[in-house]
Structure formats: structure tokens, C-alpha cells
């Protein structure tokens, strides 16, 4: 690495800011960046926190801060390129700023905190009716309103078809768009999140099952001497995490109430472990009797799928040593953790910690049973 010119290291960060249309920040802002922390979790909203050096007569405190460069609702896009491969890490809005003025020179900081673009969907409460639209069409209709922020819908059809009946029930939204979309996702066993990329200024709004098939990311190696890429990895196996939900449904014609059959969760979550964990707990869902049958079935499936993951792992890695960026909400292989815990995992959350000279990632993994299904993982 000695022959690399300054500023051309394997990790290169670019910060874009601006109202709605983000532009690359002035050089002074980029140089004042002390640290950046970005958290992305499956099924939850992502957030960021940046710390800037606030010198007394610098551009930040003299002009940019009073002129509203760091005002709330300013859009922030962070791109990072690891070994020449660029990636959008985050696309969001500033929510809050804190200025810590210090007596010591060079210790005054500006801390900016924000959330991803789903914040836009959570600002305004709305009451709307969606007659004769199945859940995925309702989500599409809502997402159409946010296309000017570069949000592209990536909406999947629900697993259990719920044909709408205008005469029986008209679906009604109260609350914010985000609440309604998340509620619809949860009722179908899906997740809703925004995934930034592929280019800066674009993001995909995924309303669908978690990505548990397809190409695995580069494997995390632990306990492999010089080939280890992960500093440490801890696994926990919680036997009570899985529960078997039960739902009863009443036929409005005959008044007969029946126990719905247990659906297989594998279409929603393909198994990653060879030995699935039996459910110790049994839980009865409330309120399913008066729903339409398809809705009750979808909810039963959703609840069974949500609690399926019993094994969780957490650890941290150095991106410079690993060589690749670990992406959340995808699959990754683990090597060197022993026969029980090796194999493919779903990356539940990743926290990126960036500061000049270091890029660390803390991550959590999950899957539903011990032992790997296959003999190999992608290196």
C-alpha cells in the first residue's frame, strides 16, 4: 500500500448533500468529517450520525450552518468505494443537529443525526380508502407519491392471494403511509424497507419477502489464522424464540369455527440450517375469527415466519481486511465456527463505523437451525 497516493486508499467515501437534489459537499465539509456511523437493520428504519469538526472561524460555523446547509430535511447521500467498487451506503434526511462548543481548541463538534427516506412517508397522517385493491396494489398506489425522491417500487405479490370484496369490506388507511405499508407487510409476512442504490440518488422500496435466496456474499472467516476476516463472532441459540401460532376462523355462513392448518414457512423463508428447531411455545392469535379466511391464513403464516429464527450471531469486521462491504438483508456464509454453526446466514443488521483510517462493520446474523445445509460456502 506504500505506493498509493494519499487519498486513493482502498476505501473512499463521498458525501452528497442538498435539498432533494444532493450535490457533492464542499471540500471543507469533507475534511471536517470526524466520524460517520450508519445503522441498517432488516425490517427497521436505517439511521446515521455524522460528527464534524467545528472550528471557530471555519466555513462550517461561519457560513454553512447559519445558511441552513445542515437544516433538518436536508438530503444526505453517502457513497463508499471499497477497492474501486462503488456502493451507495445511505440515502436519507437530516432530522437533528447538535453543536457541542468546547473551551478546548479543536474540540467543538457538530453532530448531525438523521434517518433514511422512509421518514418522508412518516411525516403526514392520511386517511384514504382503497376499494377493491389487494395489499400489493395498495402499496404501489402509496409508493407512487414518492417517486420524485428517486424511490422505485420493488413490490411483490402477496403469498396468499387476498381478493378484495368491495361489498364486504373497504380497506381504510389511518395514520401515516409508512405505518400503513409496514402494517400491510407484517400481515403478509413481508418486510418493507428502502434499499439505497444502485446509483446515488436512487433507492428501491422493497415490499416483499426477505432476500433469503440467491448469491451469497463473500464468506466471513473466523478462527482461521491469517485468513480470518472477522475479529470475533458470537452465536446464541435461544430455544424459546420460536413459537407456533394458532388461528381459528369462523365461517360467517355456518358459524362453524375451524382451526386453520399450519402453513409451511419455507416459501417465505427457505431454510438455511439442516436441523430446524421445534417450536416450544404455542400461541393463539386473537381477532382472526372475524377476518376473511385468506387474511387469517396470511397472518398465521406471517407470525410463524417471524419467530422462526432462533440462532443469532454477532460480530465485527474490518472492511480493509475483509476486502468487501458486508451488505445487510442478504445471505452470507460463515466458515471456521465449527460444524454446528458454519454455513449460510441472513445478515440482519449492519452498523458501519467510518473514521479517517478505519472502516469497521458490526453485524448480526440469524438463521433457524444448527448445521449447514450444503457442503460448501462461497469464499
Amino acid at each position: 500500500m506504500s505506493e498509493q497516493p494519499v487519498g486513493h486508499g482502498p476505501v473512499h467515501i463521498q458525501l452528497l448533500m442538498g435539498p432533494k437534489l444532493a450535490r457533492p459537499v464542499p471540500l471543507e465539509v469533507a475534511e471536517a468529517l470526524l466520524s460517520a456511523q450508519i445503522t441498517t437493520t432488516a425490517g427497521e428504519r436505517s439511521g446515521f450520525q455524522f460528527a464534524f469538526d467545528l472550528t471557530k472561524n471555519g466555513l462550517l460555523s461561519r457560513r454553512l450552518l447559519p445558511e441552513g446547509f445542515f437544516d433538518p430535511k436536508t438530503r444526505v447521500i453517502v457513497t463508499v468505494s471499497v477497492r474501486g467498487t462503488p456502493e451507495v451506503l445511505f440515502d436519507g434526511l437530516i432530522v437533528r443537529q447538535e453543536v457541542g462548543a468546547s473551551n478546548l481548541p479543536g474540540h467543538s463538534t457538530l453532530t448531525v443525526t438523521g434517518e433514511d427516506l422512509t421518514l418522508l412517508m412518516d411525516l403526514e397522517e392520511r386517511t384514504a380508502r382503497y376499494p377493491n385493491l389487494p395489499p400489493s396494489q395498495r402499496v404501489l398506489a402509496i409508493l407512487r407519491r414518492y417517486s420524485d425522491y428517486g424511490i422505485r417500487p420493488d413490490v411483490y405479490q402477496e403469498k396468499i392471494a387476498q381478493p378484495p370484496h368491495q361489498d364486504l369490506r373497504v380497506h381504510y388507511q389511518t395514520g401515516t403511509d409508512l405505518q400503513y405499508v409496514t402494517e400491510l407487510a407484517r400481515a403478509n409476512g413481508y418486510t418493507f424497507y428502502l434499499e439505497p442504490g444502485p446509483g446515488p440518488g436512487h433507492s428501491a422500496a422493497r415490499w416483499g419477502p426477505e432476500v433469503r435466496i440467491g448469491l451469497r456474499q463473500h464468506a466471513l472467516n473466523v478462527n482461521m489464522d491469517a485468513l480470518s476476516t472477522v475479529d470475533q463472532l458470537t452465536f446464541a441459540y435461544d430455544g424459546t424464540a420460536r413459537e407456533e401460532p394458532q388461528a381459528r376462523w369462523q365461517d360467517p355462513g355456518t358459524r362453524q369455527s375451524t382451526l386453520l392448518p399450519q402453513p409451511p414457512v419455507s416459501p417465505l423463508r427457505p431454510p438455511l440450517g439442516r436441523r430446524p428447531t421445534p417450536a416450544l411455545k404455542r400461541k393463539t392469535l386473537s381477532g382472526t375469527a372475524k377476518q376473511q379466511r385468506e387474511q387469517a391464513e396470511a397472518e398465521l403464516l406471517a407470525r410463524a415466519a417471524v419467530s422462526a429464527d432462533v440462532i443469532s450471531g454477532s460480530g465485527s469486521l474490518d472492511v480493509g481486511r475483509h476486502g468487501y462491504l458486508l451488505q445487510p438483508r442478504r445471505l452470507v456464509g460463515v466458515r471456521g465456527a465449527g460444524r454446528a454453526y458454519d454455513g449460510d446466514y441472513f445478515v440482519k443488521s449492519v452498523t458501519h463505523n467510518l473514521r479517517p483510517g478505519s472502516f469497521q462493520q458490526n453485524f448480526t446474523l440469524s438463521r433457524e437451525g444448527l448445521e449447514a445445509r450444503g457442503d460448501t460456502v462461497r469464499p
Binding site: 435466496i213 440467491g214 427457505p270
Partner: protein
Amino acid sequence: MAETEPYESALDSIPGAHPYPRTSRYHDAEIGVHRRADGSEVRYTKRRLLPPLDEETEPHTVGAGERPDLLGQRFLGDPGQWWRIADANPVLDPRELTDEPGRVIGIPLTGGFPRGERRV
């Protein structure tokens, strides 16, 4: 192992069905399906067109003994990324880049996104 479910190995067995990794220049290339006379399907990567040449570059004077992979390691941190430099210049044979010492070539800025038709 338990019996094979339809979702697993449906994609794994077909070459080219998976997207190329992010580091590859074929990551954005489209995967085509060719149907042979006997009805069987062959997947292939469609021709990749060079991205438009309006990106900013940094000039670099080629020295003796330089190779595209060395330039990739030096400027982008990975020898496998030489194709970004070849794309920015543009040359068909990467050896053309460093054939004659003294030639000035453009190095794309680190952190720049390819401008081509990028697909997810």
C-alpha cells in the same frame, strides 16, 4: 439432506443466472436466454457496451514497466479493477494503455459510479 425444495438450486444450477459480483464489469450486463432447436435453454451474458465518456478523469503519464493491473492496484486499490481505467480511455486491448511510456491516460476518480445502464 432433506428432499430438494423447488426454490433451492433452481438458480444455482444454471450458469449465468446469477448476477456477477459487484466488482465485475459484467455486473450490469444483461443475461440473455437462447433457446436451441431442441427446446433447451442456454443462458449467456449479452454484449456489454462501454459507458459514455463524460466522466471526470485524472491524467497520468505512463512510465516504463507499468501494467494495467499495477495501475489498478495503485489508483483503485485492487488489481482486478483495471477495466475501469480501460473503460475511461477507451481501449479494446488493455495492453494498449501502457504500451508506450510517456502516453498520457485518464484515470477515473475513485468513488465514481459507472455511467452505463446500471441494473440492480
